[in-house]
């Protein structure tokens, strides 16, 4: 039997959620960039007009991806990856520096951010390598290979420096965990982050005392299993060292603006007109939304232009203000549906390659979503990460579209996999 029609096998649920999110996103961008005078929706001098153009241009992009041979993605994943790395390297020579970050290429009035596309390329190569039957993620050597695939772009992106994008890549650990990476990687990460934050709030002495107490209790209760005091001691020394070095890292490694963002988060005394301004205005916009919001195009915060960069990273504040708790919950619900649907589809894949890729897509989108919304409501330090399909920007919209539709194509093609 010849290839079945792609159209019949496309997962229309995913496509539908995608379309709804993109349209809702545009509506909010329109509100956030409300024009001075009456103009048409396609006024290309306006932000919403440009976004409309980006959305329309995404349609042929989708058609091209769907009509490609699904095998290409696996076959040329190395090429995509190397191309991506070159694009990242090229930034250091040709990139445009905005606010100290060099992560854009500028062509006339349009910008292009390669790290967005490198995400997809990295996911493809990771899927290819890990799906190899020879690879066993229980082996240290193979773990290293897998980590190196996204570790390399992370290094390049950190040099831009763009901590936000780098963090997104690190979330791929979730995928490796799904594929058999030992769980202590995850736990080390979680505990490390928790200790770092605690060490900033609590006095180190108390924290170390608490850790010691937990370990002693664990040691006593753990009587049945081999309990090697040396391992406990080493662990304790490591944790103590880390807790004590937090102050040093905080004072000497972090940039002033990063410090500010952490200060804002842990409630240190901050100036609401300076470093605290963005978060404060964002909380005011969302917090004043109440149950059903102030109504579309009626948000006083949005209309007053109080939230800076509202159409990009802060777009969710418009949702919160104008559509209230109900609207915000609906949007979150839509996103969660999309993530779970992708994971469901991924688990249904016949090849390991497309399963891993699907997982990568879900992880990427979810991490963006989590970090973006959490930073607006003071659950996470401010990091410049866009909300997928919502935030203004051609690069990010197209990158997320490509990322998602490559998976939709793979999924549609699975009937042909034997």
């Amino acid at each position: 039997m010849k290839n079945q029609s792609v159209v019949n096998n496309i997962d229309w649920i995913t496509v539908l959620i995608y379309a709804i999110l993109v349209i809702l996103g545009w509506m909010n961008i329109y509100s956030a960039s409300l024009p001075l005078e009456e103009t048409s929706f396609f006024d290309l001098t306006q932000i919403y007009g440009k976004q409309m153009l980006f959305i329309i241009m995404a349609i042929p992009l989708i058609l091209v991806i769907l009509s490609m041979d699904a095998k290409i993605f696996e076959k040329y994943s190395t090429v995509f990856y190397i191309l991506g790395i070159f694009l990242l390297l090229g930034l250091f020579a040709f990139g445009k520096t905005i606010k100290g970050q060099t992560n854009w290429y500028q062509f006339g009035s349009f910008g292009f951010q390669p790290s967005e596309f490198v995400k997809t390329a990295t996911a493809l190569l990771l899927a290819k390598l890990v799906s190899d039957t020879q690879i066993n993620l229980k082996l240290f050597k193979h773990q290293l290979i897998a980590l190196a695939v996204f570790g390399f772009p992370v290094l390049l992106i950190l040099m831009q420096p763009d901590a936000g994008s780098a963090m997104i890549f690190l979330s791929l650990v979730f995928v490796l965990y799904r594929e058999g990476l030992p769980s202590w990687y995850l736990w080390t990460g979680f505990i490390g982050i928790a200790l770092f934050i605690l060490a900033l709030i609590v006095k180190p002495v108390f924290l170390i005392g608490f850790v010691l107490l937990v370990m002693i209790i664990h040691f006593i209760l753990n009587a049945r299993i081999t309990r090697n005091p040396i391992i406990y001691a080493a662990l304790f020394v490591a944790i103590t060292g880390m807790v004590l070095s937090v102050d040093y890292v905080y004072e000497n490694v972090l940039e002033p603006h990063q410090k500010d963002r952490i200060n804002v988060l842990i409630g240190e005394d901050v100036n609401m007109q300076k470093e605290g301004y963005n978060l404060n205005q964002s909380m005011i916009a969302i917090g004043s939304g109440s149950w059903i919001g102030k109504g579309y195009l009626e948000g006083t915060q949005t209309k007053g232009g109080f939230v800076p960069e509202q159409h990009t990273d802060y777009i969710f504040t418009t949702v919160g203000e104008e559509w209230g708790f109900v609207g915000a919950t609906v949007v979150i619900f839509l996103f969660v549906c999309l993530f779970l649907r992708i994971i469901y589809l991924a688990e249904r894949q016949k090849t390991k390659f497309s399963r891993i890729y699907g997982y990568c897509v879900a992880t990427y989108l979810f991490t963006h979503f989590m970090v973006n919304i959490a930073m607006l409501i003071k659950l996470f330090p401010t990091i410049g990460v866009p909300l997928p399909f919502f935030s203004y920007g051609g690069s990010s919209l197209w990158a997320f579209t490509i990322m998602l539709y490559v998976f939709i194509k793979m999924d549609a093609n699975k009937v042909n996999e034997w």
């Binding site: 965990y177 300076k274 004043s288």
Partner: protein, 687 residues
């Protein structure tokens, strides 16, 4: 299990996010109030900027009213552009450009449309303002200068730029901020705090009265008046004396560290940086890289100090115990301090002790003294560090910490510095002997020289020089009230001060004695170099003089630098003596001829030499150096050819040297490395 991890994590996070949103949006209603706060219009009330007085209470800087037209682009409605432009006398293109610029800043926030209207323009516009929705008038106050001097001390005020607004949210578009001088240093004191009125607005942006009956409104806090340590009369006199010359004068009251006069020449009338002409005039000053009127020479002119430095050489040697008052050295019109190394001297030769050494400014004497100081220790490294340690206690080799923005560190070398130049060691006291007479690697600014004299006047201590005397209702910074004590013991100052006094009795400054005032001082010449078409060229020496007076109970310490003025006694010493006389006697100067000669004297011809290419002509040096040497004739012919091509490109060269538009970079500045041996010949002609 592993399959379920990510989905569960997603659901947990989503729940946390929703719970947090529930708390913010439903439970906590404080944000609704804050949002209302945002939707109100803020009207600012600008307080008047503080006045500036001199030490005797004379008003120096006051204010005058000025009116800006502000615009909120989003609120412009039904505008008769033609009429509007006619009233303000602007073209339609200008109008469009200004509106575009305002939109870029913010469509919803006010920005300046037209700044600083005069009274007539204001009156004409005021009549029709009701018709122009989206525009309003903001009253501000501009500076009104009562004197024509002190521009470098006052600084100026200007509209904040975008970078400042971003950095400091107190400032909004169109606000004024102090730049340079005391306007910058005491910005927050002078500025006061602007008052804020909150006006409530409905959905249609209409003002519906004060928000919550004005409970959040704040009244403006008036800027505080400040009193400077400056003596306006002395400052005026100093600027008059420096007319048509380049250089600087710093006068300090030794007992307090108060700056009595801070003159830089050329300067400008502070009033030209007020009003709409400000930007044009400022650009002209900024681009004048030849005379550099924005370069505060009193604070920034960094040169090897020359002879005045000998005072310190003597003090350090006395403290280190390597000489006493009676120690004698023989001067053979110079001093042979090593094989083939000879330091020339023009004091006349003979047996020199401390007193004669100082007033005759004997190079040989101080060379000997310096060598003993360095060689007291087993290794020259320790000697140099001990020496520089003493000098640093005078505040040298570092920023002084005074309350004016610009400054230079000067340079006092340590052993580290020489180890870098001679990585294999091998430097000795003879290598660095030129430090003894203030050449070598030593660099000082006029204010450091003045402070040095203040310290000597006080016999061992100084207060950090400062320009602020009083802030209404506030004490001046503690660092200006803290005594700095030098590492030289008090008893060693007496013989040195006697030597400085004898400079006026039988030394280099005998010609400028002032009847009735016992002045102690020292002349000096500062070598300086410039690069002309890539070649290092020595220019005419700077004339330097330092002094304090009266000898007992000193009231003023002064340093004067006259660029390319040749001997210290030619320009700097007479100017210093006139300044001292003016300050201490407070009445008319008795030495009328000298005064007239100084007031009218001009060094413009000397300065034009650089511009006219006098120093560019390669034959100039040759003629001076090897006159009559036949061998060079052939070369000279060749050089003439070169000269032709050079004179053809002279215009380019002229452009090249002033290309550094940065007023802080001195094109005619010094070149750091100076050595005695290479300049022996030229020095011999000079001293």
């Amino acid at each position: 299990m592993r399959k379920l991890f990510l989905p569960s994590f997603i659901i947990v996070i989503a729940t946390v996010l929703i719970a947090r949103l529930f708390y913010l949006q439903i439970l906590d209603d404080s944000y609704i109030k804050k949002s209302d706060n945002n939707a109100i219009k803020i009207v600012y009330d600008y307080p008047e900027r503080g006045y500036i007085y001199d030490r005797n209470g004379a008003l120096l800087v006051a204010n005058q009213p000025s009116y800006d037209i502000m615009v909120i682009p989003k609120e412009i409605k039904n505008l008769d552009t033609l009429e509007f432009c006619t009233i303000l006398k602007i073209t339609k293109d200008e109008f469009i450009k200004k509106i575009e610029k305002a939109k870029v800043y913010s469509p919803r926030l006010p920005s300046v449309f037209l700044a600083q209207l005069n009274k007539n323009e204001y009156a004409a516009f005021q009549e029709k303002i009701r018709k122009y929705e989206g525009f309003y008038i903001q009253k501000r106050s501009l500076r009104d200068y009562q004197v024509e001097v002190g521009a470098n001390v006052f600084g100026y005020i200007t509209q904040v730029n975008d970078a400042i607004i971003e950095k400091n949210p107190y400032y909004k578009s169109g606000d004024l901020i102090g730049m340079q001088g005391v306007e910058q240093m005491y910005e927050e004191v002078l500025r006061g705090i602007k008052g804020v009125k909150y006006r409530q607005r409905d959905r249609f942006n209409k003002d519906i009265g004060p928000y919550k009956e004005g409970i959040y409104d704040t009244t403006a806090v008036q800027g505080k008046d400040i009193t400077l340590t400056l003596d306006a009369e002395l400052q005026k006199y100093g600027e008059a004396l420096m007319k048509n010359k380049r250089g600087g004068i710093v006068a300090i009251e030794p007992k307090t560290g108060e700056i009595l006069a801070l003159v830089t020449a050329p300067s400008y009338d502070p009033a030209i940086l007020v009003g709409r002409e400000r930007s044009k005039n400022y650009t002209a000053l900024y681009n004048d890289s030849i005379a550099m009127p924005l370069f505060d020479r009193g604070l920034l002119a960094e040169y090897p100090p020359g002879s005045p430095f000998k005072i310190l050489t003597a003090l350090v040697a006395l403290q280190e115990g390597v000489i006493d008052e009676q120690t004698q050295f023989v001067c053979n019109h110079g001093w042979s301090y090593g094989r083939g190394s000879f330091m020339k001297c023009h004091c006349g030769g003979g047996v020199r002790n401390l007193n004669v050494g100082i007033y005759k400014s004997c190079n040989a004497y101080f060379g000997n003294v310096y060598r003993l100081t360095i060689d007291k220790y087993q290794k020259p490294r320790f000697g140099v560090n001990a020496w520089s340690g003493h000098l640093k206690s005078f505040g040298l080799g570092n920023f002084m910490g005074y309350d004016l923005p610009p400054g230079r560190k000067g340079h006092i070398p340590t052993s580290k510095y020489y180890d870098r130049w001679y990585p294999n060691g091998g430097w000795r006291s003879s290598t660095i002997i030129s430090n003894s007479i203030g050449q070598g690697e030593v660099l000082m600014t006029p204010i450091q020289l003045a402070n040095m004299m203040a310290t000597i006047a006080n016999q061992g201590y100084y207060y950090t020089p400062h320009i602020i005397k009083k802030i209404k209702g506030q004490q001046i910074d503690k660092k200006f009230r803290t005594k700095h004590i030098t590492t030289i013991d008090k008893q060693y100052y007496t013989p040195v001060v006697n030597g400085l006094f004898d400079v006026f009795n039988h030394g280099t400054a005998a010609g400028v004695r002032v009847e009735g005032i016992e002045i102690c001082g020292k002349t000096g010449t500062a070598e300086n170099f410039t690069k002309i078409s890539g070649k290092r060229v020595q220019l005419q020496d700077h004339s330097v003089f330092v002094a304090f007076a009266p000898r007992h109970d000193p009231k003023i310490a002064i340093a004067v630098l006259v660029e390319n003025g040749h001997y210290g006694a030619t320009w700097a010493a007479p100017i210093s003596s006139l300044m001292i006389e003016k300050y201490i006697k407070k009445d008319t100067i008795t030495r009328v001829d000298l005064e007239r000669r100084m007031l009218e004297g001009s060094l413009q011809a000397e300065y034009d030499k650089v511009i006219n290419g006098f120093y560019v002509d390669p034959n100039w040096e040759k003629k001076n150096e090897v006159e009559g040497d036949k061998k060079t004739e052939v070369k000279e012919v060749k050089d003439e050819k070169k000269t032709d091509t050079k004179s053809g490109t002279k215009k380019e060269e002229k452009k090249e040297s002033p290309q550094k538009n940065n007023p802080n970079i001195k094109t005619t500045g010094t070149d750091k490395k100076t050595t005695v041996t290479t300049n022996k010949k030229q020095k011999s002609e000079k001293k």
